[in-house]
């Protein structure tokens, strides 16, 4: 009797998502980036346990001391341990990045979907307002918003989130416009599906890829934006640590206490670089034309 082929013997068909993941896995840069991000998230979560000192504990006798065994990264201008502040500061920077972009997504994507799908006057209005917001330099908008809300980390996140929203509105709208004319959407409409259902079940899944890419890159930009706002005095307020505000203070002491600036600066750099690498990798993985 001839052996019958069993289904498990056949090579399995991968879903597009799985194919994308495999492509991503192959990109070294993205994987390194992801690893670094995971590292920072880990230390941010584990801060209470791994931080050698209390990040808020001041010490008049240990002001601006160079790195020693006790203070591996040295101390800052009022005697606090820099390493502990860098560890705890990871929380603020990660939060700043993630929450701002979440706000942008939560507001921007639905608005963009609406504009792209509904069209007409709604689209025109939304597009004009979005264009208006995009025409203002991002940082200026963020500064004005942060000044309006008052200096604090939360308000900085909201300000950055709002200032970045138009980017997602525009991106979503463009993607929706491209996908709207595809056959499967026409088919869904012809069958009589309600618009909301079409938007969520048919359109949204097919535009998610570029949104993910943009979101990842936006997190990188948001972390830098928070540092910039802190540089101007509008971000995380003392004594709570954030890398951006640490840099703001450290800039006055670069010559006599460079360690105050090196470590937070390096951390921002590594974290932002990782998000950028990951975002690039995602873009290549999700869009085969680029890969």
């Amino acid at each position: 009797m001839a052996a019958t082929l069993v289904a498990t013997d056949l090579p399995r068909e991968l879903t597009p998502g799985q194919r994308a993941l495999r492509r991503l896995w192959r990109r070294r840069g993205a994987m390194v980036g992801l690893a670094v991000i995971v590292f920072f998230v880990a230390i941010a979560l584990a801060a209470p346990w791994i931080s050698p000192h209390d990040p808020l504990a001041t010490s008049w006798s240990a002001v601006r001391k160079a790195p020693t065994a006790e203070h591996v990264f040295g101390t800052d201008e009022i005697g606090r341990d820099v390493l502990s502040r860098v560890i705890w500061g990871a929380r603020a920077s990660l939060l700043a990045g993630v929450i701002s972009v979440t706000i942008s997504l939560l507001v921007g994507v639905p608005v963009g979907l609406t504009a792209g799908y509904v069209g007409g006057w709604t689209d025109m209005l939304i597009s004009r307002v979005t264009d208006a917001m995009l025409a203002c330099p991002f940082l200026i908008l963020a500064i004005a918003l942060a000044a309006f809300l008052g200096p604090s980390l939360t308000n900085a996140m909201v300000a950055i989130g709002i200032a970045a929203t138009p980017i997602f509105v525009r991106l979503t709208r463009a993607q929706v416009l491209a996908v709207k004319v595809e056959d499967y959407v026409e088919a869904a409409r012809a069958v009589g599906n309600p618009p909301l259902r079409i938007a969520l079940r048919h359109i949204f899944p097919n535009i998610v890829a570029p949104l993910i890419v943009q979101a990842t890159l936006a997190i990188a930009a948001a972390i830098i934006a928070e540092a910039s706002l802190s540089f101007l005095g509008l971000g995380q307020q003392p004594p709570a640590p954030s890398w951006g505000s640490m840099l703001n203070t450290a800039k006055n002491y670069v010559e006599n206490a460079p360690w105050m600036a090196i470590w937070p600066g390096l951390s921002i750099f590594l974290l932002v670089l990782s998000f950028n690498l990951l975002g690039d990798g995602l873009r290549d993985a999700l869009d085969p034309r680029h890969g």
């Binding site: 070294r28 840069g29 597009s127 004009r128 307002v129 264009d131 208006a132 917001m133 995009l134 025409a135 203002c136 330099p137 991002f138 940082l139 200026i140 500064i143 004005a144 918003l145 000044a147 309006f148 008052g150 990188a220 830098i224 540092a227 910039s228 540089f231 101007l232 951006g244 840099l247 800039k251 670069v254 010559e255 600036a261 600066g265 921002i268 750099f269 932002v272 670089l273 950028n276 690498l277 690039d280 034309r289 680029h290």
Partner: protein
């Protein structure tokens, strides 16, 4: 094509209107009374009253917007409360400075970005691709004010190669002007270089896979010629059009760069104005920037149209 152009031109006015309303409204929401902020240390009540009257600060919001709009339509963007100079004068004064900085930054970014992008596309997925990527990304990942301070400390104080700060007009001394612009242009252009690198890379990859290039290769042309003359030339147009859209980013970056290097341009003007509640200045500068940005957008779209027949009609 013509109708597209007309539609876009027509869209400019309502967009600008929205911009002006947005910024005006936002500023009025800012807590803090500009009259008090401007009145001087002694907070003389007479001076405060005078300033309130002069700048219509006691009138309701729509009325104040009306005053401003009427002035703007006549070319009068109001007066800076802080320096008591017309906003238009300030813009004319500071614009060339920021333009020069942005222009030089753009040049730096194009040089670094395009060469890195071409290298990354040609040697794709190899070590060089990775290195070029990281190099360009470095610019995007470092806060530019931070980079600026490090550069000042290294190149100005330790090495003495460039001046630490300030600005010399090119009409006065071109050499000093350029010397003072090297570091700020580099700092500002870094972030843009990364974006350009990516654009160049993807544009080049697209072009290199096209029939046009395949034909050139089939003709037996040297690879270098193929890349530089055929591929790059075609890739340049979308690159340039995308670059024009980055103007807004440049201005954002300029804000901090100008603070650190003390360059008296737009960025510094605007930050000071927001903090001092100098409404007219913020309003005027943002409106001006928005106009330029929108016009650039339009030009970029036109160029894109000219290149991409598929999008016409």
């Amino acid at each position: 094509m013509g109708s597209f152009l007309l539609k876009r031109l027509a869209a400019i006015v309502p967009t600008l209107f929205f911009v002006s309303v947005l910024i005006f409204g936002l500023q009025q929401l800012l807590p803090g009374d500009p009259a008090i902020a401007m009145a001087g240390e002694e907070r003389d009540p007479n001076v405060i009253a005078y300033l309130r009257g002069k700048f219509h600060l006691d009138e309701p919001l729509p009325v104040r917007y009306g005053y401003w709009l009427r002035g703007a339509l006549h070319g009068d963007l109001g007066e800076s409360v802080r320096i008591q100079q017309p906003v238009t004068d300030l813009i004319v004064e500071k614009l060339p400075v920021t333009l020069e900085l942005a222009g030089l930054a753009m040049a730096v970014a194009l040089v670094i970005g395009i060469s890195a992008g071409v290298a990354a596309a040609v040697w794709r997925d190899t070590r060089w691709d990775y290195v070029a990527n990281v190099f360009a990304l470095w610019g995007l990942s470092t806060p530019n004010f931070w980079l600026g301070i490090l550069m000042i400390l290294f190149f100005s104080v330790k090495l003495g190669w460039f001046p630490a700060s300030g600005y010399v007009s090119p009409s006065e001394n071109l050499g000093e002007n350029l010397a003072g612009m090297v570091m700020p242009a580099f700092v500002l252009g870094n972030a843009l270089a990364a974006v350009l690198m990516r654009h160049t890379r993807s544009a080049m990859l697209q072009v290199m896979a096209s029939d046009y290039v395949r034909t050139a290769r089939a003709k037996g042309l040297d690879e270098k010629v193929v890349i530089l003359r055929h591929a790059l030339r075609n890739a340049l147009v979308p690159i340039i059009t995308l670059t024009a859209l980055q103007f807004g980013e440049l201005l954002s970056g300029a804000v901090l760069t100008e603070q650190v290097f003390s360059i008296p341009g737009f960025g510094k003007l605007i930050v000071d104005a927001v903090f001092n509640r100098d409404y007219s200045v913020v309003q005027g500068v943002v409106l001006f920037t928005a106009t330029v940005y929108i016009v650039l957008n339009l030009l970029a779209d036109l160029a894109y149209f000219a290149v991409n027949p598929r999008m016409r009609g």
